[in-house]
Structures are given as C-alpha cells and as structure tokens.
Amino acid sequence: MSAGVLPAVGADREIAVFAREIRRRALRMTSRARSSHIGSAFSCADILAVLYGGLLRVRPQEPGWSGRDRFILSKGHAASALYAALSRRGFFPSEALEAYSGDGSIFCGHASSAVPGVDWSTGSLGHGLPVACGMALAAQLDHRDHRVVALLSDGELDEGSNWEAILFAGHHRLDRLTVIVDCNGLQSLAATEETLRLEPLAAKWQGFGWWVAECDGHDHASLRSVLETARHQSGKPSCILARTVKGRGVDFMENSVLWHYRSAQGAELDSAMTQLE
C-alpha cells in the first residue's frame, strides 16, 4: 500500500497508461469545474483502469448491448474518474468531458446514466449494491452469463442498506455479482475507523456467505488476477477489498481528507499535472 510511482512493466504498461489518463482527465475536469472529490477519483482510478482496460465485457460503439457486463459506480461522487475511463475506452471523445458539471451537461457531478456507458445513476450512497443484486438476480433467472460489478467506497458501508443487500446476495447465491470496495480508510471528514469501525471487514462479508479476497487496489496485475478468480466463483457472490490510498498519484493529495472536497487550482494544479506526466 505504499505511495509512489505506478508500476509499468510488460502487459501492465497499457493499464498504467490508462490509469494515468483517468487521473489526468479527472483532475482537469474537477479543476475546471472547481468541484470536489478528486481524492476519491484517484483512489479508484487503477480499479477503473483494470475494469475498462479489458476486464469488463462492453462495446463502446453499442453501450446498451444486452450481453454487456453491468457496472455500477456506487460511490457516485467519483464520477469524474468513471467518465474519464469511459472516454479513454472510446465511448465518447475526451473533448466531451470539457462539459463536466456545466450548464446543460449530461456529465453530472455524480454519475449519470445519461452518459453513454454509465449503467446506473448514483450519488446517494448505499444504493449501488442493492440495485446490482436485482440486476444479478435478473441475469440468474434468464441464465445469462454477464457479470454485475459494483464499486463501493469503504465509508459508504456505514449505510445500512448495504448490509440488507449483503444478506440478500449471500442467501440467494448471486454468483454473477462482484463487489469491489475501495478501501482507502478515509471518508469525507475522518478515517473510517474513527467514524464507525469497519474492521475486521473481510470477516464480516465472509460471515454473510460471500467469497472474499483482499488485494492492493493500485497493483494492476493483482487486481486483474483477483477479479478473474472472482468471475469463476460458483454459488457465492464475491467481494474484493481493494486496499487503496485516497488521492493516490499526487503526493500532497495522498491520504488526506482535505482532498475530498478541495479543488486543485493554480500552482497546486500545475504541480499535480506534472506528477501525473
């Protein structure tokens, strides 16, 4: 979980470039709009790079393709990173991102399904997982093999709705469902362990009947390997606790609650962009 430069060797080089592009685009978007949540976007940039860099079955030219894997960004405040990932994957040109949060824009500050490739609008925490359960149930009923992936924040697990859904998914053996928790240990004002203690988190999910794995949420090879293993779980939903660093990629943003709401401007923006070259 150490901070620092991202590994860029062999097959992972492309994913590293993908992740860096997500960060650069998300930073540009939030700075231009003077909006929040860049720390949250950076925290999950590597997860999104692995997903949209090849792991999710999607067709950028046909966003509503019925055989696609569904993805819900339950931590909808990291929308800038999702939009950036979708543009990088080719759902729309990167220039479209310039409209982010502006008047009349489809690129809302929290994830909006008006954007091509976004399966579900989010923003009110605690709803991505229950809806993903319903999607996985529909797929199970129709014997379809697409997967449903929901990316949650760790702070979001304070919402009780998640625990109702965790109970439901375990009981109904929703093995088409994978949850990734972006465990950066922080929420908007303080550390998760100071706000409402979550640990031991893996044991909690296991107790509800889930297959659970932990990995470094910035290590692309490790993320890909654990997501592949999750895909082949039978009879159980899967949960990946991705251990991450909030603000990852820019030294003065890392592990700081300040960058949950602060927007980078001027010298801070220049310095951040330089670090992301």
């Binding site: 399904s113 399966d119 579900w120 609008s121 923003g123 009110s124 709803h127 229950p130 809806v131 993903a132 359960c133 319903g134 999607m135 996985a136 149930l137 529909a138 797929a139 009923l141 129709d142 709705s161 109702e164 859904a165 109970l167 439901f168 009981h171 109904h172």
Partner: protein
Amino acid sequence: MATRTRFEVKNGVATREAFGQALVELGRVNPDVVVCDADLSKSTFTAGFAKEFPDRFFQCGIAEANMVAIGSGLASGGKIPFVSSFSCFVMNKGFEQLRVTAAFPNVNLKVVGTHSGISIGEDGPSQMSIEDLSLACSLAGFTVLSPADEFSMRKLIRAAAAHQGPVFIRAGRIKAPIIYSAAEEFEIGKAKVLAQGSDVTLMATGLLVAESLLACDLLEAEGISTRVIDFATIKPLDREVIAAAASETGAIVVSEEHLADGGLGVRIAQVVAETAPCVMEFVGVRNTYAESGTPDGLLDKYGLRAVNIAGAARRAVSRKKK
C-alpha cells in the same frame, strides 16, 4: 333528477386479495412478471403467485427498502417486478429507494401497498398507511392507482403491468363493497362518473367511493342533485372530469381514507384552482393518527362515513349560495 338506482352495499373480496388473484393470472400470460416479498406474502396475497411460480418469486426478508432497490435492478434487467408489502412499510421505509432507484431512472417497477388506511383496524396505527398517496404522488414520473373494488383492482393491475414506468397501487385489508361489474373496463388516468348531478360533486377513492354513493342517496332524497366520481387513478389526474364537475356543479367534496394534508383532496384542489375555482370541502383523517379498533368503529370515529360526506356536501352547497 336521480339517474341511478339506490346503491346497495354488497361486499366483494378485499382489494389486496383481488391483487393477488390478478397477479397469478398475469404470471400465466407474461413470463417477465416477477414478485418480491418482504415476509408478508400471506397478508399481501402474493403467496398464490409464489406457489404457482416459485422461480419468479423472491424473498427479500423483512427489508422493504432493500426490496424496492432489488426490484429496480430486476426492472433494469428487463423484468416487470411487483414488489409488495404493507403500504406503510414499503412507502415509508422505502421512500429514498423509491425516489433514487425507481423514480429518478424511471424504471418499470410496480409497487403494491396493501393494508392502507385506518380500516385495517385492530393492528393499530403503526401499521396504518395514511400518507402513502401523498408520498407516491411526490415521486416524479410515478403513476398512482387506488382502486375501490375487486373488479377495478383486477383490471388496473393488468393495466399497471402493461404501462411502461413506475406505478404505485394502493390496496386495502377489509372486504370492499362492489362498485363495478366484471365487464367494466378501466384506463389509467380516467376517472369514472358513477352518478350524474348538478348541485354538488362527490369525488372519492378506495373505500370512500362506496360511502360517497351512499351519501349521494341521502342527498338526492333531500333534493340535492349529486354527481359521484371514482378516482381509481390519483396520478395523473383526470383534469377534464374535474374541470367539468367544478364548472357544472360549483361545489366539490373530496373524500379519502388518508390524511387530509396531502393525498387526493389537495391534488384535486390544485386542478380546480388551475381550471374552474369553486367551493370545496374535504373528508379525510385530520392531522392525527388513529388507534386500534374495529374497522367500522374507526371509520365512524374519524368521520369517514356517508353521513360525514353528506354533511360536507350540504356545507359546500350552502357556501356556494352565499
């Protein structure tokens, strides 16, 4: 100038039971129909569907809010989910999920709230839903239905399934007086004029439709020409029928087994204000919660009877003359 015979109360099955029957019929013809329950399927009558279609029935446990979001996910996967519980639980506990996961993305979810109103009786106020219409109508894009008897419930459940978009359907616990024949057709958004009249209009929904028909007989006997309209659709409202009643009778009484603050009355008042302002009176639960009792005793005590509606109509007619 009575244009109909006196209304005789003949009880049919409860609207919740008619809902359960309609659901089974629907399941036989439409494989996309699925049902979610929150551990009340015997009371909500979805148990019949569960028995015939166990693979399309999903137990969500005592977690109504989660059931709503699960239903939204199922709808997103191409299903036509009916999620059902007591109205007070699914609407009050599920409201955030109804707003965020159903109304906002405009999914094809059908929400059925049974045991509405105070006529559930003995179980008391914690189980009584007297704000569900108000809540449901505040969800943008939702269609809101409140059938008065078994026949209108059966037809409207079918209409709800055929309608693309989120729908809330209100059902009651006790046996409901029969208003219609099995052959009557219903269309979402269309109110039914059950009696023509020119002095006053009684508008109602649910159990209060039968009470309004009884009130009509009392008023006609006094020479007050009374129109009666059943609003089985609360949203979207039948604006034409409201505007015509307002301009032609000049006095309206709206009755519902619901808090008078919100619900059908205030919604009709909005349409009246926008079209043909006239004298209005409201019969409903007034800024309070009821208690345990017999259904009849509670309807008497809280003034939701034909005598109360007739009294309100006389007041409206006399205010009109001033």
